[in-house]
C-alpha cells in the first residue's frame, strides 16, 4: 500500500536529431550513405518518487526536458536508460479534446475519448451525466462538435479527463484555458481527485498555479533534476536559472549599442547585481510582506559627477510596474577606480507573479554609463486574492444588516472579511 504511485529511477531519454527527414527511396538508392544525425539527452538520470495522493509540480524553462519527462510518465515514450513505473490508470490532461472528431456529436466523442482514456463502456455510462454537467453542455451534447466554440470544446475535453477518476492525472499547462470560472471549477475538481487518493503531476510556467497546487516541486534544467522538494525554493531556483540562461544569451553582446538603444558613455562596469532577503540570503522568491534588498556594486573606469541609479520592475507582459531613481540628490563625484555601492530596499507589494527587475546607472546628463546588466527575475509571492499588478493593501469590510423593518434589532453583527494595517 505504501508503494509510491510513480517511481522514476535513473531515467534518461536520448533523442536522435535528424538534420533531414529520412527517405526510403534515397536510402535504398544510396543517394546519401548516411543521413546526418546527432543524438542528445533530453533527460538524464532523473530519480524521484511520487506518493499516492501527492501533487507534484514540475517546472523548468523551455527545453529543460519537462515534456520528455511527462511523456515517459504517460507511457508514450520509454526511457533509453533507467526505469519509470506508474501504478494505476493514467489520464493526461494535455491538450484536452485529443481525439475529438469534429463530425461526431459531443455524446459520441465522450464515448470515444473515454475509451481512449481507458474507461470501459459501463464506466462511461456511469459518469456520462456528471461529465456533461461538468462541461455545462447539456443542451449541446447531441450537436457535432464542429459547431462548438473553442471554449465548449475544451470544457468537454476537460470534463472527460477530470471526471474519469484517474489514479494518476497529468496536467500540462492547461490551466490557462477556459474562462476563470471554469478554471476554478477544474482546480476544485483536481483537489477532490487528490483527496480521493489520486496522484497529480502538474507542469506549468505559471508559478501562481504551481504554488497553489503543489506541495512538492521538482526543477528540471537542461535535462537534469536540479531540485526536489519545497515548492517555494523550487520557484526561487527556477527564476535563478531563468536569469542564468538570459545571461548566457546576452554574453556575446558587445558594448556597441543595439539598434534603437541610446548610445552609452562608458564610465563604469556593474560588478554585482544581487537580490537578498531580509536575512541577507540570496533569493528569487519574494514574500510581499518581507523587505528585500537589491545590492549593486559598480566600478568606475572614468570620473563621473553625480551618477543616477535607476531601478525598475516590469511584469511578465512587459508593463513597467514601478520605476524609481536616486534623482539629482546624489552629487558625489567619483574618480576612476572608485566603487559605487547601492542598496535598494523595498517590499514588493505586487500581485503574485513573475517580475523582471532592472538597474541602470546614468550620468547626470542622463546618458547610460554602464553596459546593460541582465535582469533579475523574481517570483513575488503576493496574497492569492490580489489580481492585477499592485497590492494596494485594501481593507475590505463587509457588514450584514438585518432586513426586518420596524423593529429595533440587536446591534448589527459585523462580519469583517479582511482588515489590513
Amino acid at each position: 500500500m505504501n508503494q509510491p504511485a510513480i517511481q522514476v529511477l535513473g531515467a534518461g531519454k536520448r533523442y536522435v536529431k535528424y538534420d533531414d527527414t529520412p527517405m526510403l527511396v534515397s536510402r535504398i538508392a544510396r543517394l546519401r550513405s548516411h543521413t546526418s544525425r546527432s543524438s542528445f539527452w533530453a533527460v538524464r538520470d532523473a530519480t524521484f518518487d511520487v506518493a499516492r495522493g501527492e501533487v507534484l509540480g514540475i517546472v523548468g524553462s523551455n527545453g529543460s526536458g519537462k515534456s520528455t519527462l511527462l511523456r515517459m510518465l504517460a507511457g508514450v515514450t520509454a526511457p533509453t536508460e533507467g526505469r519509470v513505473s506508474v501504478m494505476g490508470r493514467i489520464a493526461p490532461l494535455i491538450a484536452v479534446g485529443v481525439g475529438f472528431h469534429p463530425e461526431l456529436t459531443g455524446r459520441e466523442n465522450v464515448y470515444v475519448n473515454g475509451t481512449v482514456l481507458g474507461l470501459t463502456r459501463r464506466q462511461i455510462d456511469d459518469r456520462f451525466d456528471e461529465m456533461v454537467e461538468f462541461a455545462e453542455l447539456k443542451s449541446f451534447i447531441d450537436t457535432p462538435v464542429k459547431f462548438y466554440s473553442s471554449g465548449m470544446f475544451v470544457r468537454l475535453g476537460f470534463a472527460v479527463s477530470v471526471v474519469s477518476d484517474p489514479d494518476v492525472l497529468i496536467v500540462d499547462e492547461v490551466l490557462s484555458v477556459g474562462d476563470i470560472a471554469f478554471q476554478l471549477k477544474c482546480i476544485d475538481r483536481m483537489a477532490e481527485i487528490q483527496k480521493s487518493g489520486a496522484t497529480i503531476v502538474v507542469v506549468s510556467h505559471n508559478m501562481g498555479a504551481i504554488r497553489n497546487l503543489c506541495s512538492r516541486t521538482v526543477v528540471l534544467h537542461n535535462g537534469v533534476l536540479r531540485h526536489d522538494g519545497n515548492t517555494e525554493e523550487a520557484i526561487s531556483l527556477y527564476h535563478e536559472l531563468l536569469s542564468e540562461d538570459r545571461e548566457l544569451d546576452e554574453q556575446p553582446g558587445s558594448p556597441t549599442p543595439l539598434a534603437g538603444e541610446r548610445a552609452i558613455d562608458l564610465r563604469a562596469h556593474i560588478e554585482k547585481f544581487e537580490l537578498v532577503d531580509h536575512l541577507g540570503q540570496p533569493t528569487r522568491h519574494v514574500d510581499a510582506e518581507k523587505e528585500v534588498t537589491f545590492l549593486i556594486d559598480a566600478r568606475l573606469i572614468a570620473p563621473a559627477d553625480g551618477p543616477i541609479v535607476f531601478f525598475s520592475v516590469t511584469n511578465s507582459s512587459g508593463f513597467r510596474v514601478y520605476g524609481d531613481s536616486t534623482g539629482w540628490r546624489n552629487s558625489t563625484s567619483y574618480r576612476g577606480g572608485d566603487v559605487l555601492h547601492a542598496a535598494i530596499r523595498l517590499k514588493m507589494r505586487l500581485a503574485p507573479g513573475t517580475y523582471s527587475c532592472d538597474v541602470l546607472i546614468v550620468t547626470s546628463d542622463g546618458v547610460p554609463m554602464t553596459p546593460r546588466v541582465p535582469s533579475i527575475l523574481v517570483y513575488a509571492a503576493g496574497r492569492n486574492t490580489v489580481t492585477g499588478v499592485a497590492d494596494l493593501q485594501a481593507a475590505i469590510e463587509v457588514e450584514r444588516h438585518s432586513p426586518i423593518r420596524g423593529e429595533i434589532s440587536d446591534a448589527p453583527r459585523h462580519e469583517t472579511t479582511r482588515v489590513f494595517p
Binding site: V76, V98, T115
Partner: protein
C-alpha cells in the same frame, strides 16, 4: 487504493524495447478500444455524405460497372456471361485491400495528436483503419451474392467461402498495413511509394481478367498476395481459376511473413514512435 475490484494496471518501462509478451498483452487489452475506434472511423467516413452508407458499396459497384463495360467493348476476354459479377468480386476484394493499406500507412503519423499524448499500442491505429473497412466489405459481399443470384447463380454452400475469403483479406491487409504504418513513421515517403505501387499492383492482380488468360506469367501472378484473396471471392461466386489453391498458400505465406516483420518492428518501436512524430 481504489476498491474497484479490478486489478490496478501497472506500467513499467525500463527500455525502449517492448517484450513481445507485454506487447501481446497490451494489444489484447485494447480490443474494446479498437472496436470503438474502428466504428468511429467508419461512421466518420460516411457521415457527411448525403447518401451515407450507400457510398460504401456504391463506389466498388461503379468501379466494377465501368470496368465491365469498358473492357467488354474494347478488350475481348473469354469470360462467361456473368462477367460483371466476375469483375465485381475482384473489385470488392481489391478495394478493401487498397484502401486498407493506403489509409493504414499514414494512420500513426496522422494521429500524432493522440499518439504523442496518451499510450495505447500503436498497432491500434493501422488496425482501426483496416477494420473500419470491414463494414463496407461485408455490405459489398452481400451485394455480390445478390448480384450473383441475379445472374443466375443462387446462393449455395459455396457462398460460405466468402467468410474465409473476407478473413484472409483482413489478415493480409492488416499485416501489410501494420508494417507500412511503422515504416511511414520513419520514412515519410512510404506513403507515396504505396500510392504509386498500388496503381501498378492493380494490373498485376487478376481483378478484371482471369488468371489463365495471361499465359505463362500467371505463375508469377499467383505469388501476388492479393491473388489468393481475389480467387477465394471468385470461388464463392462465379468460380475460381484452377490454380487458386497455390495462390491462397501464397497469400497465407505473405501474411505470416508480414506478421513476423510487424512484430519485430512494433517490439522495437512501439514505445518510441512518439519520438519520431
Amino acid at each position: 487504493m481504489t476498491t474497484t475490484g479490478r486489478s490496478t494496471p501497472i506500467l513499467v518501462l525500463d527500455g525502449e524495447i517492448t517484450p513481445v509478451r507485454v506487447l501481446a498483452r497490451d494489444v489484447w487489452r485494447s480490443r474494446d478500444l479498437l472496436a470503438v475506434l474502428a466504428r468511429k472511423e467508419f461512421f466518420v467516413r460516411y457521415r457527411r455524405a448525403s447518401f451515407g452508407l450507400v457510398w460504401a458499396i456504391g463506389i466498388p459497384l461503379v468501379q466494377a460497372l465501368v470496368l465491365a463495360v469498358v473492357l467488354r467493348h474494347f478488350v475481348k476476354f473469354q469470360t462467361p456471361a456473368s462477367y460483371p459479377v466476375f469483375v465485381f468480386s475482384g473489385v470488392s476484394a481489391w478495394n478493401f485491400f487498397s484502401t486498407g493499406i493506403s489509409t493504414a500507412t499514414s494512420s500513426i503519423v496522422d494521429n500524432r495528436d493522440i499518439s504523442t499524448k496518451i499510450y495505447f499500442p500503436r498497432s491500434v491505429f493501422p488496425s482501426m483503419t483496416v477494420l473500419s473497412g470491414l463494414y463496407g466489405l461485408a455490405l459489398t459481399a452481400v451485394l455480390l451474392v445478390i448480384l450473383n443470384a441475379a445472374y443466375g447463380t443462387p446462393p449455395g454452400i459455396d457462398t460460405l467461402i466468402l467468410i474465409p475469403a473476407i478473413a484472409l483479406n483482413l489478415v493480409l491487409t492488416l499485416t501489410a498495413g501494420l508494417v507500412l504504418a511503422a515504416l511511414q513513421v520513419y520514412f515519410r515517403d512510404v506513403k507515396f511509394l504505396v500510392q504509386a505501387g498500388l496503381i501498378a499492383w492493380f494490373y498485376l492482380t487478376p481483378v478484371f481478367y482471369p488468371l489463365h488468360s495471361v499465359g505463362s506469367i500467371s505463375a508469377w501472378l499467383r505469388a501476388n498476395p492479393v491473388t489468393g484473396v481475389v480467387e477465394l471471392f471468385r470461388l464463392a461466386t462465379v468460380g475460381a481459376d484452377p490454380g487458386w489453391i497455390v495462390a491462397v498458400w501464397w497469400s497465407l505465406a505473405w501474411s505470416a511473413a508480414l506478421f513476423v516483420v510487424a512484430t519485430v518492428l512494433y517490439r522495437r518501436f512501439d514505445r518510441s514512435f512518439a519520438d519520431l512524430l
